[in-house]
Symmetry: D2
Subunit: 371 residues, 4 copies
């Protein structure tokens, strides 16, 4: 009993475009219970040949060079914005205005103010809105949240998270859009740090104050000054009293994609690393470290996969879970369930990122201000 | 430039049916270079409602209750036999006779004699034939083979592999077909051990003699005697002079799906566990243990996935690689490339499994006989 | 309240001599409760300068070139035989005859018959006798035994152990006494495999039958044929019904000292590797893998060490525990407690090793015979 | 050819007293080359029975209730100060004045000013001075430094270290001296953080500025306010341009003794955790993670131990290496070699700790001031 077919239009066809497209295709062959099926209506990019190639490869019905055209298409229920950061605000606002449900990749916008505007507009319009923090949709991260909600860690005393990569140290050292403040907003803070801030909020508590420092290790690229950070490290105070450390870098040795967090409470601890995404590590009251392989059919999201335990899923599958959640939320008339990050989460994350940048610039503790 | 659309008919819709169906669906959105695209023509099972449900869920065009009907269908180029072991021989032989290319799950047949017949017939008919040893299509396993081929381990002295699960210890202790010799052929030997034998052959060398013992820990199920083994352990001598140990069990504590191997040579070692499938461990001449995360775009098969390193794939993705290999082999007029296990591999594996069972029964060393 | 000072004489001053000497010295500064203190009376070797150097370095009172002289010394209560394998039988028999308590390194003797003679004589003489299976005295191994005794694993279905080293692959390939059957008895079987057999017996059950194969990868050393095995692999059937695999090699890549075991039961599993000797891994009924760091003051033997958890001990400390156990047993008038391997254990281990060698020679299953 | 016997007097007989006493005892049986042998002259404490008990257990010749008495003893060459923090300054100054060589545990003093005075006085007096940063004497830490000195990591971009324990969360929540500022100086900053600062300086560079926050999770103990921190987290800028994070806590779940660091450079990374003290992890330019077991006879300090690789040492053995280094320095007329932390290191570390506390109090970035 399928309750709906929902038309999707996608803006962008880079890395995230690939991830979202494959996930949408996979959703057509995955079912557990009534839900919505995606229809891949159109994909949009600036270069005609490139976007047509992506269209053909990923199974979209049509290619477009203009996102306004996508929003005018009656077949489109959901606007999936996976474009570069500078294209998050205007197209998403237009999609909201056109009554489309919107998924926008992180960071939601260049500043907290812009992000807040997106949230307020989406909320006012009554559309479903989601911000693409896909890590919330990994089974191990969900189990982490469940353990904390069941108070298995006691009162949280520490949260620490890091996202260590080395993309800034590649030999070519090109000045892609990610190193251009006008397009990217900031560097490691917005690109990688936003994931960490969302994890802190999802798992431990609301940040209330931060101190931080940033670094730009490669100051010149392609003959131009780099005006964003390659790395930051910060201390964050959470409303629950916990002390947090956040660190993100694109210049961390040769690390690939090491997005990891730890939570310590008065009774135990847990840890996760996306490079071992099927696993959650827990330290219990007896100091025992348990590696929980979250690969059994009864684990979160895993009913979608295999009937026997021990069969790992991949990073890309987080998008299957995320987009399925979006479609369900839309099909259920907009009652977004608690775990999907929405635009309010995107805004609150941006407010923390702004505070981090301000603290680093000023060399002082900055309180996070939510309007 | 897509060179072909190939019609696929599938017999069976259990666990492997799910895995193959999803992989075939995924292949439609994955491309690198000219190749064949699968068309999911028909899926076959015994129960009308169940097979129709699978058809709808997994995107097959039609459902069938008769594999003979599938083989008569002109749209079918490839027969994908994922039925229970006792349905491997006859339908696969019929498919060969009908000129279809065939992928048959492991174990290829109940005895080495039957497996050899399948191989000889497929070879004579000139169709592409493949036996479903999907582990060969994991990136880390492929890298293991490449390291060995480049002689980085020196002369191989030891091969050890194990497949440890606990499905026989479930509380219900039902006598499913896997505990019935008439359907399954044997127990852990055929079901799990066949993977290990194939890995030994793929990586280290041809088995020439074996000694072994078997155990049936739960001798009565549903009031009936169990006539297959729950576990075996064996020593295998390889033609290269290496000493091997093989062990498979469905009664190993609460282990889930621990299929692991190690190869030792005169200059180094390597190790792999399917529960950490993105990783290969290597011990070099300086005794250093290196964890190689096989997740970079340049790693085997990984060009199909993500543009940045550190993004794990899942167990199910091995079938994407396997079925893509099959379709390429068919589209390229049958020149199966070396890594895909074919029916000869399935036969040779069966000969070793027969020798293991004979050695265990007789309490003596048995030489493997290939006709 | 120290109850005794016990004089020790040591035969041999190689690797084990170093380990035992340091442990004896450490015992002088370690105390918890009344016990015996060792007095390092004399150390014996064949080369006058070498043994004098060892004496001075390790704090022995006198050096000797004749173990008979040691046994005639009234100050000697305990004879610690750490000489080469061929010197285990005669001096230990003489020590027993002289009424000395005896610790003899493994393997207890060249054959089961000789080992049995040692056991029977020591038993008859009423002296304390111990065979140097030091791994029993590692905290994590002791915890493994305790877990099994408390039935936390359920009925044991599998035991597997391996001792993988690479000493036979060193470039020089000298024919030391370890490669000479006349001195060593056998190769990897006696030297490394004896540890594995003892662990099987200590943790899982008595071996009743074995099948096996051996290999000599470097057949010529120093121009002479090597008449012992470099490696063996075997399947062992235990009296409890469990299936075991044992494997030892001196030609396993570049592995250093990888002595590891696993026990699977109907309710869980555990695993240990001496290269991570402070840790025991447990898999529970929920498939969770727990790394237990056995480093808290309440853990076995750890009251001897540090007041706070997380402070690892070293391999050499196993000898501190072992020799302390010996001294306590002597001081308590010979009531050897259960965990210390005695000469009966040494004999039973030798019987299994003999069966392994016979099974490998004959290519058939051999039942272990205890007289 | 032993060159000297050096008399040692020890102040304190708690945890560190135990560790140093055992190490001194072990030094008597360890030798490689000419060096000094310790003579355990006297041990000092406040409680007559307790100190006598320690004297007897650990092999000291005499017990004392007055460290001035120890310093007046002609047999004493070296003063080993392992007393509580508040007893570091005065007795160590007196020892210097009396011409004794001094090892003082960390933190060297309650403030940077006091620590500087100790350094200046010791330097002026020409005695050998050492501050007890024992982690520098772990083989893996030494290898880490060697790799960095050989420029294998390239330019250092990140240093991060943490010392996570849970001693503040014990049920009794007693207000021991460690929770009393008058005795301890500060809490986690001085006790645990000082190790991290020393590691940063030893491996990566001099701290030039810090931001930080502290927390006291259990504000009342035994009815009294706790006036020290239970935890701190800070960002530290190093003179080499690297960005560092430091975090120490006595309230981190149930963690035991997790003192760990990581260094990232432009070409690679390395990591270490004292709970796995025999191992160093390295990430190379090809993103490969190598676990180096620093247990071969050729590794730093390991010539003191076993002739074959794979034999782990324990945490306590770091003190053997540290005290041996001290004795060698004294015997060689005071030419302290580079790796031993001296009082200047103790002072510089204290200056950073002071800056951390000031930054946390003021909510602002504080530059580290060295006089």
């Amino acid at each position: 009993m399928r309750t709906a077919e929902l038309g999707v239009a996608m803006l962008g066809h880079g890395f995230m475009g690939q991830a979202h497209s494959r996930a949408l295709a996979a959703l057509a062959t995955i079912e557990d219970g009534p839900r919505a099926i995606p229809r891949l209506v159109s994909i949009c990019g600036r270069d005609r040949d490139a976007v047509e190639s992506s269209r053909a490869r990923w199974g979209w019905e049509s290619a477009s060079l203009d996102w306004r055209e996508q929003l005018a298409d009656d077949r489109v229920d959901v606007f999936d914005n996976v474009g570069p950061n500078s294209l998050h605000l205007e197209p998403s606002l237009a999609a909201i205005a056109a009554g489309r449900h919107v998924l926008c990749e992180k960071p939601l916008a260049g500043t907290a103010g812009e992000a807040r505007r997106l949230w307020r507009e989406a909320d006012r319009a009554g559309v479903v809105h989601m911000c693409g923090f896909n890590l919330r949709f990994l089974p191990a991260v969900r189990v982490a949240r469940e353990l904390i909600e069941r108070d298995e860690l006691g009162e949280i005393t520490h949260f620490r998270a890091r996202f260590l990569a080395s993309s800034a140290l590649r030999e070519d050292q090109r000045r892609t859009w990610r190193f251009d403040r006008a397009v990217a907003g900031s560097g490691a803070v917005a690109d990688l740090g936003s994931h960490l801030v969302d994890l802190a909020r999802y798992l431990a508590g609301e940040p209330v104050a931060v101190t931080a420092a940033t670094r730009t290790f490669v100051p010149i690229r392609d003959g131009q000054a780099v005006d964003v950070d390659d790395a930051f490290a910060g201390v964050v105070e959470l409303d629950c009293g916990a002390l947090g450390t956040l660190e993100a870098s694109r210049a961390a040795g040769r690390r690939g994609n090491e997005c990891a967090f730890e939570v310590d409470g008065t009774r135990g601890s847990l840890g996760f690393d996306v490079e071992r995404l099927n696993t959650l590590e827990v330290i219990d009251e007896r100091k025992r470290r348990t590696r929980i392989d979250v690969t059994s059919p009864g684990d979160p999201f895993m009913a979608l996969w295999w009937p026997a335990p021990g069969h790992a899923i991949g990073w890309g599958d987080s998008f299957v879970h995320e987009l399925r959640h979006l479609l369900e939320a839309v099909a259920s008339s907009g009652s977004v369930r608690p775990h999907g990050a929405d635009f309010e989460d995107g805004y609150r994350c941006a407010a923390v990122c702004d505070a981090i940048l301000e603290a680093a610039r000023g060399g002082r503790r900055v309180e996070v201000r939510y309007e």
